[in-house]
Subunit: 154 residues, 2 copies
């Protein structure tokens, strides 16, 4: 089932130290990107890590996740140089939805996005973004993680 | 340490049912091949399977192997279509060395190669191949597994 989500840019994030937000630091890097598949590694809060193989969009979408121990992640991470996204993901419930505010680091420093997933198209349309959210970039490929990792911020 | 090995073509394999040879069937397919890395899956005798990430040849060679259960292999295998090598590897001790006779299947049917690994360059040069071994293709890229998977038999 395709995800129904909206993504907006955030020029000035809200205060994140008010006790309503949780934070996770994500390090994500691509080992290989081809026409048929992408293979990436991701580590959360310097701990649990995974390797994910995703097929390119098509009839049968495959997404396979394998656990990685810290040492394996450490050996594979250097192979992702130049194809990385490092960000802190701040999350907070807001009524029916979960706000995911990603604040990027490194060469993507200055970029922040808000993502929200919905159960239906109607809910997605009806949703009123917070006042601090900016331009709607839903569906813009340039803001997908893979594009950000390869080409930087648009 | 680079492997020291020799590889020869085998036009007519010797009798393999004389009790001196052991056989393993290998199914190997590439999920992704890029300038920086290759990611492949391999299953032995329909059982133990692994995903391997290898960096391209360079200063720091990375080779990382992850265990795959049978179901994960089954989900990933379809992503390797058109980039596969399936073969039975027949092995036998021959004095100091191990003979590895690979008999290929499918679109590579008709191809057989003999590979032997050595402890030193001297041993590699001194080795006398069996009478049934043919043309020496040591170092020929076209006979590497990756090339065979992508381009078929030369």
């Amino acid at each position: 089932m395709p995800e129904i989500e909206r993504k907006l840019l955030v020029d000035v994030p809200p205060p994140l130290d008010d006790g309503t937000w949780s934070a996770s630091r994500l390090e994500q890097g691509y080992l290989a990107i081809t026409d048929d598949a992408e293979v990436r590694v991701r580590r959360t809060d310097g701990g649990a890590a995974r390797l994910t193989v995703k097929s390119a969009p098509g009839l049968t979408r495959v997404e396979e996740e394998l656990e990685l121990d810290g040492e394996a992640f450490g050996r594979l991470w250097p192979l992702t140089e130049g194809r990385r996204v490092v960000k802190t993901r701040w999350t907070r419930r807001d009524g029916d939805v979960l706000l995911e505010l990603d604040i990027y680091e490194g060469s993507l420093s200055g970029l922040a996005t808000l993502e929200v997933e919905f159960a239906s198209e109607e809910a997605a349309h009806a949703w009123a973004p917070p006042a601090w959210a900016g331009r709607d970039v839903t569906g813009h490929k340039a803001y997908a993680n893979q594009s950000l990792a390869l080409y930087g911020a648009p």
